[in-house]
Amino acid sequence: MSGETVKLLGHWASPFALRVIWALKLKEIEYEYVGEDLPNKSPLLLEYNPVHKKIPVLVHGGKPIAESLVILEYLDEAWKHNPILPDDPYERAQARFWARFVDEKCMPSIMSAFTKKGEEKEKAAKEARENFKILESGLGKKQFFGGESVGFVDIAAGWIGLWTRMVEEIADVNIIDTAMMPLLESWFQRVLQVPILKECLPPQDKVLERFKGFHKFLTGGSS
């Protein structure tokens, strides 16, 4: 396995590509990064992900794998060093459950709060807060979702606090409520203090500018 080349097609601002970068770094897997100039999709991307035409795509020994959480599972199975998922099947099920919860519930409600206006925006923000509260129940009193060290859910969601703060600033909305989710909030800070995760973060000012651009485009400017 280790002999074959690993390539990651990604985008500097994408949190989904960031998941894969974090996993590759944590597992000490050598890889070549190919930055896509979205929205111009390269022929390589269209060839490697004809179904969704999206990044991230991992290419290992010429074979492509798409969908960030699918890639994370693949990395853990193809490289045994520094596992991301726990050993115990029940714990693995919990990790999968919470990673999906982030994608299926947290993300859409945060995006709604970002793109909607007025009452709809407030309603979406409330839902996003409630989803974070529920997510907190998956963390409990642990240091990380993975326990003593970062694991699958931390890698899947570790960037979400930072991204949500940007959404709050740009869309003038409140989602992270310290009183309501103290454990999750301290996890937001703690997870990004992990050196490997911290050093891979894209420049936050550039991400903010990009978000501002999206917001203007999606909402016509006002909140």
Binding site: P50, V51, H60, K63, I65, A66, E67, L69, V70, I71, E73, Y74, E77, A78, P89, Y90, R92, A93, R96, F97, R100, F101, I134, S137
Partner: protein, 223 residues
Amino acid sequence: MAEVTLLGLWPSPFVYRVIWALKLKGVEYEYVEEDAVYNKSDRLLEYNPVHKKVPVLVHAGKPIAESAVILEYIEETRPHNPLLAKDPHQRALARFWTKFGEDKSIALFTFFITEGEEQVKATKEAQEYLRILEEHGLGNKKFFGGDEIGMADFEFGWLNLWLPVMEQIAGVKVMEAESFPRLHAWIQRFKELPTIKQNLPDHSAMLTYFKDRRAFFLASAKS
């Protein structure tokens, strides 16, 4: 496996995925029917506080929710008659298509809860996804899993009975045999497998149930 309980709802294709996996792997379990739509029991709310839905698998008192997560759990705790190949890339493909099925499931049956122009539009969209599924997911394989059925076959297993029932009630043909020959051939093979043949809900009960559901959805859309 120690005591296993499955909380289910008899017309649910999500529940049937789990039933097929348990039956295929020879896992003894107790089935508990939940009125998960109209009258959620305390037991359901306790075992799936996050989503309050079925299926929920309870193994030695510990609950697991979300059908794809449950299938992975069953696969890991009962390797007999595997649902996933040994090769990591094949496993990644199975997970990719399972996710495709989940992400597109609402789009795939919107035709059932709409009428008129909306239904025409929804049918076209469903057909686009089925085309992608047939071309890229199934291709010329016997099953999604290759020569043997796997996780992705269970993900799309609803196409064999639920889809024709919904098509009949909604009065629209989504997946014509001439337009989707490979998917149709796959359905014929899938239906004949003993695990599937012996574990399907009653056809006329399905017609009654889904007729009511369509009426309910159309009425809610109007109000």
